[in-house]
Amino acid sequence: MDALTASIPLLVFVVVGTIAVASSILVVAMRNPVNSALFLLLTFLCVAVLFVMEGAEFVGAVQVLVYAGGIMVLFLFVVMLINVRALPDDRILSPYWTGGAVVGAAVFVLLVALVRPGVYHEQNDNPLALRSTTVNARHRVVQPDGTTVRKRYTRQQVVGNSEAIGMALYRDYLVPFEVASLFLLVAMVGAILIGKRELGIDDEDVDPQYIVDRVAEEKEMKEAMSA
């Protein structure tokens, strides 16, 4: 029985991992974008399960909330909005796909051969070590003469899951984290720049009236076409 219970995590990992890999393949294999999006959702959920299994409940929860909840909804929103039902039937696979598959398989074999137990660095024996952190604090100390002073001290403290992530993000990895925000800003600017309707040479100024006119014009065009 003990053997069985001990192997349950492994079993779950194999099953969930297989589903994650399979569904991620299906994401790119599906012809219908909605199906793709749904498989992506499944992948996210499986990954969330894996996170939870590793004891990272917070990350798992974030995975579900942000990816599965937020980002997927956005995806679906866009897919529905542009109203692509299915891709055309003709073959869109690159003729070099066999080569790609061979390379992929080779890399996979290589990784399986290389990344085996023992190559990774030694974890601390104490699983809580990952969550322990140094904390700066002040507290009152009663001096021998009766007065109290505030003294700074640091101590090791085991903190909760989300607190550990907070510590990692806002203290250990503060700089990369902040640069990531710049990165997202640039991504947004880029999306707008690329998606923006190009202004003609004559109407360089962003005149609100111009936009209103243009929208009205397009409306008329659409009505004319549907009529």
């Binding site: 290389l114 190559v119 990774y120 503060l174 700089v175 640069v179 990531a180 640039v186 190009e198």
Partner: protein, 487 residues
Amino acid sequence: MTWADTLLLLPELIAATGASILLIVPVLGGRARGHMAKWAMLALMAVTALAVIGSTYAVAGVQQTPTFRAMFAVDAFSVFFKLLFVVVIALVTLLSEDFLSEERYSTWEYYSLLAFALCGMMFMASGVSLITIYIGLELLALSSYILAGYYKNHEESTEAAMKYFILGTVSSAILLYGISLIYGVCGSMRLSTIAAALSTMLSNDALMFGIMLLAAGLCFKIAAVPFHVWTPDVYVGAPTPISAFLSTGSKAAAFAVFARVFYVAFPAFHLDWSNVLAAIAALSMIVGNLAAITQTNVKRMLAYSSISHAGYSLLGIIAMNEMGLRGILIYTMVYVFANLGIWATILMLRRHAYAGESVEDFRGLHKRAPFAAFSMVVFLLSLGGIPPTAGFIGKYFLFAAAVQAGFGWLAIVAVVMSAVSMFYYLRLVVAMYLEEGSGAETIYSPSLRFVTALSLTVTLVVGFIPELPIRQVIESSSHLVGRVVQR
């Protein structure tokens, strides 16, 4: 982490804040005043440069001072590269003036993206942890993708941006995978910790694979063979000032990272990775130069030439000695200025015509623009490594490093390929001086003239009196070299 630490971050903060302000200006009604953007950008660059110099005073003796939990360091090495980046971006700003006024694209956003790219480059130069380096690189890359596609209405530009984006993303993924393997083996992403962990290891295949993936990702950024295929298309398709930026600033940043990561983190495994990199370097030099010979489009030719120069610079990393690191620093500088000067000349020629960058356009240039033609010759000679231009000093360092490190065969390949490269550089000289012909129309604006003059000055000064720049380079690299010597 204290406020003093934040002070060290000041240049990056200024660049990021400035970039955001540039983004906001058009919304506040500055759209009409597009010509102001250039001056705003230049002012921002000036302030950033001052902050970079100022930050060195905050650090005693400019030794390495990791801050923010060893994610970020201000040291002489990073200061050298940051100043170089600021100058490059300022010169690219000057180069962009005509392009923007002609094509009527949104000026402010363009400069804002350049400033963000600068920010990313500065984080790359200062990052002492793989994660900081990676995210800085991504910031730079994303800005570059957008800028490469800035000619929205031109099919080639869009295609170039698309190619650059897809291949760039794949290479980022490779890089990230490499980082994750290294992290897995070493338990840290800090370069110094990795080095410490590695020094006790005998051999580790997973680690080697990680280093190789990391190198592959970086080789994409420096456009080394076989990760170079994007280069010609992107250089031709992208707006010319952006091509200039990609071939200079972006590459210089990648080399800063390459040098720091390999010199600080991986000296212990030098024997293992040096041969792979040597093969890449040799291939880059051979393929780049041979392919460049057949090109008739100058931009494409420069793209292949930049591939070959990535190969030369790699010598400095492969050699893994004092000479090599100094060589990378000085060669990067030399290469950046020579290239910017050449791009300025191309910009001068290519106005009013999108695709007129053939060698024929240079015919008889010395009659129409004697200064430009003369400078062009100096830049080409510098790229070819002919004394007494700066290129000779750079190549001398790199060749000497390779010879010293026992990579004589690689130095011979480099030398032979330098001779081959003269063949296509000379084609331009021939066109400019020896052939008659009206060629393309030229308009030499003051900005372009300034860029050419500055690049020319640097190229000649470094060539004739190299003592000062070399001393600077030695100072800037000594603390990284110290680690290698300790090994």
